[in-house]
Symmetry: C2
Subunit: 262 residues, 2 copies
């Protein structure tokens, strides 16, 4: 067959995992980092080298990037290289990595529940969090859409944040959450790491609103799981290391003027 057969990209299990993401902020790359860190599986994170990271992301997102022999082009980072395979989209990378590193079942249908939870938290809560400061134009400055950002944030705090936290709490109230503080089944899965990072970023962006929810006692499952992830030995070491990027001008931003006014 003269055509490449992309359906059959073979990957050597020993191939190194290489994360390609912007330097200087946790962003969506953080969800991928947490999976490797919790699992104790080695990976390289190009964001650790600012210059190389800018080069790699610029190449990845170039308008003339048409991929390579094995892989279609990606639209945006994060991307993961594993041998010949290059994949993008955060939940997709998690879906690929988690079963390989022991953070999702390798067989059966549980992975579709985990992917559903990851998608709901990430493409719901995390994307909407981003749009609170960029409701009109992702490529324009915050200062150019400040007025609309105030409106969207106010609605987000009042309606959307409780909606997503109630959803996450219901996952703990469900029979599928099993023993222990975890979201799904009896042991930690990558969905717990997704929840952790989403809650952590939300706390950074809207600290007053999250504190109010925590004190209400209505979301105990959510905050217990958040704390349990934070105290995992590998995660707690990671959070104190310089591999953890500080929050800045990424998805999660703190603007005093966008906070709850009550």
């Amino acid at each position: 067959m003269s055509q490449p057969d992309p359906k059959r990209v073979k990957v050597d299990d020993d191939a190194p995992y290489e994360l390609i993401y912007w330097p200087g902020l946790p962003g969506r790359g953080e969800f991928v980092r947490l999976v490797f860190e919790e699992a104790g599986v080695p990976y390289t994170d190009i964001a650790q080298n600012q210059e190389k990271a800018f080069d790699a992301v610029t190449k990845l997102t170039a308008l003339d990037n048409v991929g390579d022999e094995h892989n279609p082009p990606a639209l945006a980072p994060p991307a993961l290289k594993h041998g010949n395979l290059l994949i993008s989209q955060t939940t997709n990378i998690l879906l690929y990595v988690a079963p390989r590193v022991g953070l999702a079942p390798k067989e059966g249908n549980g992975v579709y529940h985990l992917n559903e939870i990851a998608l709901t938290i990430m493409d719901g809560l995390v994307n909407e969090l981003h749009d609170t400061h960029h409701p009109i134009a992702v490529g324009q400055y915050y200062s150019e859409q400040k007025e609309e950002a105030k409106k969207r944030s106010s609605y987000f705090i009042k309606e959307r944040l409780p909606k997503y936290f109630k959803y996450m709490q219901r996952l703990f109230d469900a029979k599928t959450s099993g023993e222990g503080p975890w979201l799904y089944g009896d042991s930690l899965t990558y969905a717990d790491l997704v929840l952790f990072q989403a809650v952590d970023g939300t706390k950074f962006a809207f600290p007053k609103a999250v504190e109010k929810m925590e004190k209400s006692g209505e979301y105990d499952g959510v905050f217990k799981a958040y704390q349990a992830v934070k105290e995992r030995p590998n995660i707690s070491k990671y959070l104190e290391s310089d591999r953890r990027q500080a929050y800045g001008d990424g998805i999660y931003r703190y603007y005093p003027e966008l906070q709850d006014e009550e």
Copy 2:
């Protein structure tokens, strides 16, 4: 083991496929319908019965829904029931169904490329399309955010639409697209159906802008694949049937005042 083991929800291959979605609009449920229709695989679509559909979606999205013995609760439709398994999130449902009905490879890593493409088109283009008419508050009326919708639509037409269409065109320019008019490999996959519906919905919402892109000749791969899907025997029969919902007040809306002004 006294705890349920959700990682092991067994599904009988002969179990019927049941789609749960709002009645009266194509919406995100449409991506799921197209997969079954193209594959010629029987499914029930509760949206065909308006009253039953409202009941089912209301039950699914109820704030006290905590799932069942096998499944966590879903936040929003579409959901798919297959035997004991209930899963939600559009790209997740496609990932589950497509390999089972012959529209994605059953093994190997190709499925991660297909999921990446589906996610980029759906959580990018389709979600942003929705936000053109609801930039501030998804739960409020369009008329309450008309001014902001005009701003966001203008930016969407100028910057975002070409960005996504260029991305889709690059998928055809890539070595991974193979022979034929298809996105990935040599034969039709569910990613082509995702592209079809995304382009079709965009044509409905922003006809002038899409016509301009089509005439430019810069996106020939995209429009050829769109046409090739439309002409598939099963799809063309489906589009003329009453199983295909008409566009209305869903994700894809046509507002004359949001069109390109040039």
